[in-house]
Symmetry: C2
Subunit: 422 residues, 2 copies
């Protein structure tokens, strides 16, 4: 990297919603910005489950960061992996041995799925955070049907046609609903020895309802909508074991060859880098101005930050929260450059919760308004198209969705990445 | 697989152009058909280079075979890998230990790229035959620019920005032309330390012209069009070595960190399975009716077959030839079922050669007509959209191409499949 001596240097780690919003809000601030990400793409994570369930192509929701920022001559994009922070020397350490000095650092490195002490479950119950996770899950789902078609043993065939989704939050609900549609709709009539419509899709949730963040009546509606799609709901019992044969719930074994994990996340190791206090999920417990404790020049935002909303509640790990934090930190940096020494604390404004159940139902909770059914679905769809960046991707995703809506057919049914040879 | 005792059973290995055309032409023939492929998708190989060069998404040119054949209740699709043939027992052996009995067998297993005695070059000069090949090449090309951006050593940066394509046939020409456009057009203004437009793209061809199958004036035009895009042409010397540092041509080392192989293919191991005579490229030297020698119930078509056109010339390994052979073999099977004992030999009809050089030039040689420049490009584009299967994919590819044509921007610039961490 070219050495830069003049001007305030803001280094951002992570090109997710928080990092990109921060950079966008720093436009014209007169600072030099370096963005570090280990991926070359910004991933539109809210739609990742649609790649996992064959509705969207990988490149429709993963866009080259360098391209998004091409007009910003004040921004240098580095494809590199951060491995540590030396906050005395004020530099970020990279995996290749290089370092990047900063004046202000913003850590927006997101989260990975986590198994809370049961990492041995991971090979059997993959989670969904990256494009590779999504194509691996897609592969697993499609191969289960392929193997069932060729399996002569009735019990094994039954296990191959059982799909268990662990976790009843938005991702779990969206995965289960779409797998149900894939089985009943998209794959209809394509097999000769099995009927894919007979597949069991089981959603396991340890509490007593899906979408626990929503109002109870919307949770109840979402549960009914899932059941209408043919999803079995298992409430009130956590999963106690996962292996190659299936899952253990409430002391009973549920044989299933496809198990998906949508139950928990853990933050990236920013807290370890900083040597600072973290919560159970590894998030840095930040100050009210989103700085790390004792590190006034280091901000932590998005899924990596533990931000209290008062009364024991936390700011949720969703895209709008990360964006609000990015915008807020940009404001703090700009104010500091003008000489401000203190900032008003970050306040999260809940803009509403959205979740979709298959292709005709959704729930929307704006606080002042709640919506369900097909009007919610259209609102959900239009909102997500709006949030995609660039006309090109909006057109492509709109085409994919309209096609699915009209025909039930999904266009990204690709089994890739080796191993399809038995 | 369910046992089937009644009816003539045609087994087809390979869901490429030849195999699918055969099945299409057997519609209503009253036979039972089993299609075996180790992939779940039919790949539209003529556009594979566009995935490798970020123009198209993987799922735009790879379509689930099972879906294409859903309406054909006489066809059973098996995702399985054939590993051998027992022509006495008349059965196909599968990798999982299973067998599939046949009355008539059609081998349409295609080809892989080949290094003709230099397999040690493969890790340094990947070829392009599968979706995974294409995403690996895409990854390599995009990473070269990323690494160059961070490289401080001028020589190493120069090698990172040198792209060598070995082989001046249609694939080599199309790859070189598109990489040149990617560098000069698509990536313009996105880097801070390098100018991607300064990348060297070198096309190496051992003979004295590109597109040797075309008429010399079209080859000359294609060469000029490539040079206009900034591609260096190196004629008359074969590559004598390839390693991690680059290629050796005419006794001189050309340092290059990205080397792509478009110089040769070898057939799948059908000849070994049959224990029959093969040519240098491993193709089964078939009888005039496309049966394997001494195996009247086994047909070999497409890139796996060595089919003479007289005067020492061979039927080329292109999609139209494979389709014609599929149609021909379907005719032979139908005639035999009606009692015919002999068939007129297969005759290849050359429907014309097409190749494209970047986004505004192409050459078309129909024999009775030749075309070059932008009219050829539009003809090439419309012909390929026409040959795609299904309105959904036609719309998606047309959108992608019109977008590239209008803006120079390519939408599938995704680095995936691990390892982007340095």
């Amino acid at each position: 990297m070219k050495a830069e001596t003049k001007g305030h240097h803001v280094v951002v780690i992570g090109a997710g919603f928080g990092g990109l919003q921060l950079i966008s809000s720093l436009r014209g601030a007169g600072v030099k910005i370096t963005l570090i990400d280990q991926r070359n793409h910004h991933l539109f994570q809210p739609l990742l489950y649609q790649v996992a369930t064959t509705s969207l192509a990988t490149s429709e929701i993963a866009w080259p960061v360098r391209h998004l920022l091409r007009a910003r001559k004040d921004v240098t994009t580095l494809l590199a992996t951060a491995t540590g922070i030396d906050s005395h020397a004020k530099e970020v350490q990279l995996a290749d041995g290089g370092t990047v000095p900063y004046d202000t650092l913003v850590i927006a490195t997101g989260a990975r799925h986590a198994y809370f002490g049961h990492d041995e479950w991971e090979p059997f119950a993959p989670g969904l955070k990256t494009i590779e996770d999504a194509t691996a899950i897609r592969r697993r789902i499609l191969l289960a049907f392929e193997r069932a078609e060729r399996e002569r043993d009735a019990d094994k065939r039954c296990a191959l046609l059982t799909f268990v989704v662990i976790g009843g939050g938005p991702t779990g609900v969206e995965l289960a609903g779409t797998i149900a549609e894939l089985a009943r709709d998209t794959l209809k009539g394509e097999f000769r020895n099995i009927d894919p419509a007979k597949a069991r899709i089981v959603l396991v949730e340890a509490t007593d309802r899906v979408l626990a963040n929503f109002r109870p009546e919307l949770s109840a509606y979402a549960g009914r909508a899932l059941e209408k799609l043919g999803v079995e709901l298992k409430f009130g019992h956590p999963v106690t074991d996962v292996d190659a044969e299936g899952v253990m719930i409430d002391g009973a074994k549920l044989p299933a060859s496809t198990v998906l994990w949508a139950a928990g996340v853990a933050a990236s190791p920013a807290a370890e880098w900083l040597g600072t206090a973290a919560d159970r999920a590894g998030r840095v417990i930040v100050e009210p101005d989103l700085t790390a404790p004792g590190e006034p020049n280091v901000f932590v935002i998005g899924d990596t930050a533990h931000v209290s909303r008062g009364e024991g509640a936390l700011v949720p790990g969703v895209a709008p929260a990360a964006k609000q934090q990015g915008r807020y930190v940009a404001g703090v940096i700009k104010a500091r450059l003008k000489g401000a020494t203190a900032s008003k604390p970050f306040v999260y404004k809940n803009q509403g919760d959205l979740a979709t159940i298959g292709k005709r139902a959704a729930v929307v909770d704006f606080g002042w308004m709640k919506l369900k059914g097909w009007p919610a679905w259209w609102l959900w769809g239009i909102a997500h198209i709006y949030f995609l960046i660039g006309l090109r991707y909006r057109l492509a995703v709109a085409l994919s969705w309209l096609w699915i809506y009209a025909s039930g057919q999904r266009s990204a049914r690709l089994i890739t990445q080796g191993g399809e040879r038995e």
